[in-house]
């Protein structure tokens, strides 16, 4: 898990569904470890951007690079050993145990007829301890709470042993206790394990509190990227979200804090 990560570079990424252009000439480099937040209004292209990096949507050649290599040349398995991707909606129709779900994170390392080894078990256990889900291991995934399920999904992504983790709206369905808990876990992973975590977030205040670096999308383009102080400004936010806002400095963190006005 240590320092396996390679930088991600995105060069002139565009994406269209039919005639509608969703992403337009995106250029971003994720180089250092840290927590990166992708923010922007609904329909600004956050999910499509994450999908293009995770190759859930196959980008064109020579657009997204992992290290020096074009992402389109990786096999699924090889990519899964480098990038973990957690989509927004995960439903579990099948009632697996939490342990079985987390062990699925080891799939990219297993050959067809092989079964999970001791090492895979240890890795899964470790991932579950970090996310505080070890005590749930025998439970049925359908019977635990939303906050617990999200932690289990993070444990599975962690068991993948990648240096890069992409998550689409990981906290939008949770209450504040669990939002803070999940973002705290992800933040610690970037600090302790030197991971690159790229999250799309709806809640601008949470994004401002937790992220090291923000990317503000508007209509499929990167409007600005930088530290929360540089991005969360009255000018930027009211322009992109078309809403008047007040911005204060959060006295506890020194990060910007937004209060929207209603007209």
């Amino acid at each position: 898990m240590k320092d396996k990560k390679e930088p991600i570079r995105i060069k002139n990424l565009s994406w269209s569904y039919g005639k509608e252009r969703i992403l337009d000439d995106i250029n971003i480099t994720f180089f250092k470890s840290g927590l990166y937040g992708i923010i922007g209004p609904n329909g600004s292209g956050k999910t499509t951007l994450l999908k293009s990096i995770s190759r859930s949507l196959m980008p064109k050649e020579n657009v997204v690079f992992l290290g020096d290599r074009d992402i389109t040349v990786f096999s699924n398995k090889e990519l899964a050993r480098n990038i973990a991707y957690v989509p927004q909606d995960i439903y579990f129709e099948f009632e697996f145990s939490v342990m079985d779900i987390v062990l699925m994170g080891r799939s990219p390392y297993l050959k067809r007829f092989h079964s999970e080894s001791e090492y895979d078990m240890e890795t899964a256990k470790n991932a579950m301890q970090i996310t505080n889900t070890w005590h749930l291991r025998e439970k049925n995934i359908a019977e635990i709470s939303g906050g617990e399920r999200q932690r289990v999904i993070i444990a599975r992504a962690l068991a993948q042993g990648t240096g890069i983790m992409l998550m689409d709206e990981p906290v939008s369905q949770l209450d504040i206790q669990h939002q803070v808990e999940i973002l705290g876990i992800i933040k610690r992973l970037t600090e302790d394990k030197g991971m690159i975590a790229i999250l799309s977030l709806h809640d601008l205040n949470l994004a401002s509190q937790y992220c090291d670096h923000l990317i503000l999308l508007s209509k499929g383009r990167v409007l600005k990227q930088g530290s929360p102080q540089e991005i969360i400004t009255e000018g930027n936010i009211s322009k992109v979200y078309n809403t008047k806002v007040h911005i204060f400095e959060n006295p506890f963190t020194g990060r910007p804090y937004i209060i929207p006005f209603s007209n």
Partner: protein, 350 residues
């Protein structure tokens, strides 16, 4: 329960259930008009085994009985076991892949293709045979293979097979082919009875040739599908997630669809359309052993085989000399049992 902990336990249980299945098959061989005892049935059968066969005395064995068991009952029992195992595994795999509890082996329209093939063969003249296998079987097999190819290509978008398109094109093709069968029946009234009996499903025409045809197909396909168990597990938590976990989702889907189509085509072509096995056996197995495909698939194979052997024994011995089509028995006995399981567990099947 966590799979890895119960792995050795599961192997043990599977072995026991296979032994029970064999006992069940021998027991089934004693049922029928000719009264043959269990001990004699065991003797007759073990005489045929290599190595052990030499030491079995033939004392007290009526050679007519031996011929009834070896030439008539045994191929029929084996054939029903193979058909049951094949259909149940296909059902389990497709339910997992489509994440749809209503999926069964006939969802891709393969059975209608087989029906059309068999109908044409019955009307044209069903007495020819090809490499020892009846022309009806041959036509049904090619009918189903062609239908599977057709459904697959309709559903294909670029290099991908979206699940919903596949299900819908299967249903559409299935209705069209059924309509064609109806039209043929209307213009060939004299064959209607034979056609209807064929579509009800039966293994009464079983022969060693058919067993020889079905055995390798079922064995290879079942093992191949079981080898995809872990991939199916991951895919059942979402295709997008599965892809991000390194599973070659489209390749796995194509392989499973291919294996399932071949198996269903082979089963249907020897036995007609036997309903319900592929739907309820996997569900019942899941209610007992859980959702992990590494457990569900092998147990479905054994469970499907046992279920079909029981149903076919009832079909041929309940009201002699009348043969009840086994497809009718599977539904009459399968449906209430399934309702009982649902009621008892009060747990959602999916």
């Amino acid at each position: 329960m966590v799979f890895i902990k119960k792995r050795s336990h599961i192997k043990y249980m599977l072995l026991i259930s296979i032994i029970l299945l064999i006992v069940l098959m021998v027991l089934s061989a004693t049922f029928g008009v000719a009264d043959i005892s269990f001990v004699n049935a065991v003797k007759i059968l073990s005489r045929k085994l290599p190595l052990i066969g030499e030491f079995i005395s033939s004392a007290g064995i009526d050679e007519t009985h031996a011929r009834i068991i070896v030439d008539l009952r045994l191929p029929r029992i084996l054939l029903s076991a193979l058909v049951g195992a094949g259909l149940a595994v296909v059902g389990a795999a497709l339910q997992g892949m489509f994440k749809n509890p209503m999926a069964d082996p006939y969802v891709l329209g393969i059975s209608s293709g087989a029906s059309l093939g068999a109908t044409i063969a019955l009307v044209v003249g069903g007495s020819y045979s090809f490499l020892g296998v009846g022309i009806i079987t041959v036509f049904a097999f090619f009918g189903s293979v062609l239908t599977a190819l057709c459904v697959y290509n309709i559903a294909k978008v670029g290099n991908k097979i979206p699940t919903i398109t596949l299900l819908l094109s299967g249903i559409a093709v299935s209705f069209m082919l059924s309509a064609m069968v109806s039209i043929i029946m209307i213009f060939n009234r004299s064959h209607v009875e034979k056609i209807i009996f064929w579509t009800m499903g039966s293994v009464s025409a079983a022969s060693w040739n058919q067993v020889g045809f079905l055995l390798p197909i079922i064995l290879i396909s079942v093992c191949t599908i079981i080898s995809f168990s872990r991939d199916l597990n991951v895919m059942s938590t979402g295709e997008e997630t599965a892809k991000s976990l390194g599973i070659e989702v489209e390749k796995v889907k194509k392989s499973i669809i291919f294996m399932c189509s071949v198996m269903v085509a082979a089963c249907v072509s020897v036995s007609g359309v036997i309903g319900f096995v592929g739907l309820i056996v996997p569900h019942s197995i899941r209610l007992i052993v859980g959702y992990d495909h590494r457990v569900v698939l092998p147990f479905s194979a054994v469970g499907g085989a046992a279920f079909m052997v029981i149903c076919d024994t009832i079909a041929r011995s309940a009201v002699p000399p009348v043969e009840i089509p086994v497809g009718v028995i599977t539904s009459i006995f399968g449906a209430p049992y399934f309702i009982y399981l649902l009621y008892k567990s009060k747990k959602k099947v999916f």
